[in-house]
Symmetry: C2
Subunit: 413 residues, 2 copies
């Protein structure tokens, strides 16, 4: 639904009325909800949440407010209940049938509006997601509804279709462009007293994060508070967000997980040393690179996710690295599913068979509280015959200058 | 808590061990929870959520994962239950007393860990926030807990203390730097066939958004998917995120609400016309500027929030502009509270007296579905005697070149 039917613009410039679609927006078909309602003998699926709820984003394709809104599915009809202030946006973005807005933003709660809508349709048996708040659940019960939870939407989101993969591919390309900028900054830095010096003084994890996040933003994706950069011993801290100077011989671990305009994430990690790596880092780097290849080679439809994880553990073990103790060796999962949520099914420690469309990170790493750490992470999608690697970017411990990333590095889809 | 006690680094570069604190992190004191527990005769406050939960961010000062974690407050002791993979980060960031991590990320649910912790302390009466999920609430009830909801945390967050204001001030300065970049781009653009041309071809709402978001990111704050840019008739769409070319005589409405590293938001809007504004836009601009001054002049502790809103409505009315009909005239609220959440109490349509520390937007606007719209938005904090305007930035319909923003434009606190 577009909003270009509001009448003729009496002024010279009508150019801004043309909507430029850079990429196809992913759609959602609701057949799985019909099946779930039938299977559970329910009349409606009701989802109340806000813009931070990925299942609701999937159902609506609408980037709503931080204030709650609702999706109601009854009898093959998908409704979005939202504020009148968001009407234009909702009509542009909503993947379903009807946008119902309320003029009185504060006068009636979203729960009351949902109950009203359900009452008008004589609904009594309602499926809700596990994320439903106690307040919303109680409001439905107080109105005489019988509620039961379903994880049908989260389950449905696991396999990515080609529209979703186009979004993920596009945001992943922006991580490559940002990584190339980071490599160039590290490769061209000078040094003084063992510390790297960039164009604006000391190169630090925070200054590097700002350069990377600016690049991601310039490519049309959101850094999403997910840019983790460790230096030296802080590389062993999986979520380091602090600001420390970068030493010339320090490992620098850069993990980028931005979010594209349709809500899909990328995820990409490389590790570099500008000067001379320590022996521990050099050996760990070679081991991690080998183990990444071993994990990738194991990917095919039908293999258990946990088998991929176990092969990573075994391969590190064969190289003399311990697993399982926090802070030392390999101690996280070999990877996780990715989509509208950064961490979603399938997790690679889980007992579930990989299927075509599963889109997961492969991210072996080795850590030491003193020596730092190394991680290499690619993003792949499982295909009918094996997998496709969405991280078309080489790895090398020494940062490179003038890396040519593909021209589609910009979010374009 | 820092993590620099892990032992001597045997390698030449120890530089990365020094933590550079750019700004004081806001703290949280839990006395209000003691009072609430006493008043409600409960033994514990339990908050289960993830990084998208602002109340949980306030309680913990921890930017956790998209996977759930929990805050438990019992007998003057604040605990954070999170994954072992986040231990370092949690110890660095948590504002409370104890970080309790679990090695088995997938083996035990956060709800079970919470119940275990409560059982060990013989807790039976539990307060929970309204955001608690039905799953978590049922798990607590199934374990024999009596649960009741409280909004004490959201209420507590309303008045900002000076540490929080330092965060908001800092992120607001980054909006000024980004607005100056936008003004410069608009002021220096050439034009062809009535369309603005920037350094990379046609200037569009999306290309301008990317320049703005890159500037915000370079200043250390997150654009947070909140950069709304309208052009021409799309200015009347309050949440326009599309991509349209910008005409030389089009109004361009730029609304920035980025989020700083401690989670606090800024909020700032200006409207520009590069060429010749239409009569409707010129008159609307003058009216909006006048009404903003009227709204600001009304701010003082004790005044009702809705009175501020009503004065805006009345002032527009006196100038012949209608209010209350969606899409025409002034049709949103005169402003809203801001903090860890972009829209929070006090909303300026609400019946509540403003108090010192309330930090709100003042954002009158006028819209027309054909002619576009104008909005000017400042961010202010109510003081003991009046208010302080945190938007130290002039307004002018014609975009300017070479605007000097304060050197503290960078997020530094």
């Amino acid at each position: 639904m577009e909003i270009d039917e509001v009448g003729k613009h009496p002024y010279p410039t009508t150019a801004s009325r043309q909507l430029m679609a850079h990429h196809e927006r992913p759609s959602t078909s609701y057949g799985f909800l019909d099946e779930e309602l039938q299977r559970r003998e329910a009349d409606a699926y009701v989802h109340i949440g806000n813009r931070f709820d990925e299942d609701l984003r999937y159902l609506t394709r609408y980037l709503g407010s931080d204030n709650p809104y609702a999706f109601i599915y009854t009898a093959e009809t998908a409704r979005l209940l939202t504020s009148a202030l968001s009407r234009h946006q909702a009509e542009r973005e909503f993947a379903g049938d009807h946008v119902v807005t309320s003029d009185e933003q504060l006068a009636i709660s979203i729960e009351d509006r949902v109950v009203e809508t359900l009452d008008e349709r004589s609904v009594t048996e309602v499926l809700i997601p596990p994320s439903t708040t106690i307040i919303a659940a109680r409001a439905l019960e107080a109105a005489g509804m019988e509620i039961e939870t379903t994880s049908a939407v989260a389950t449905r989101r696991r396999q990515k279709n080609h529209e979703e993969l186009a979004c993920i591919r596009s945001v992943q390309k922006s991580t490559h462009a940002a990584m190339a900028v980071a490599e160039e900054i590290l490769a061209t830095a000078t040094h003084e007293d063992g510390l790297l010096i960039g164009t604006d003084g000391n190169l630090t994890t925070e200054s590097l994060r700002r350069s990377i996040n600016a690049t991601l933003s310039a490519h049309g994706v959101s850094p999403a508070d997910n840019t983790v950069i460790g230096a030296g011993s802080h590389c062993s801290d999986l979520h380091f967000r602090g600001d420390v100077p970068i030493g010339i011989d320090d490992p620098v671990l850069i993990d980028l997980s931005p979010r594209g305009p349709e809500g899909y994430h990328g995820d990409f990690t490389r590790t570099f040393v500008a000067g001379s790596p320590t022996e521990w880092i050099r050996e760990a780097y070679d081991a991690v690179a080998d183990v990444k290849d071993i994990a990738l080679a194991s990917l095919e439809p039908g293999i258990s996710a946990s088998t991929v994880h176990d092969r990573v553990v075994d391969a590190f073990d064969a190289r003399g690295y311990e697993s399982g103790y926090v802070d030392i060796g390999f101690y996280h999962s070999a990877g996780h599913g990715i989509g509208l949520r950064l961490h979603e099914d399938p997790h690679l420690k889980a007992e579930t068979s990989l299927r075509s469309g599963d889109t997961v990170t492969i991210e072996p790493g080795l850590y030491h509280p003193e020596f730092g750490g190394v991680r290499l992470e690619d993003l792949v999608t499982v295909t009918d015959t094996g997998y496709e690697n969405l991280s078309d970017y080489p790895h090398q411990l020494k940062p490179r200058q003038d890396i040519a990333t593909s021209p589609e590095g910009s979010y374009a889809g």
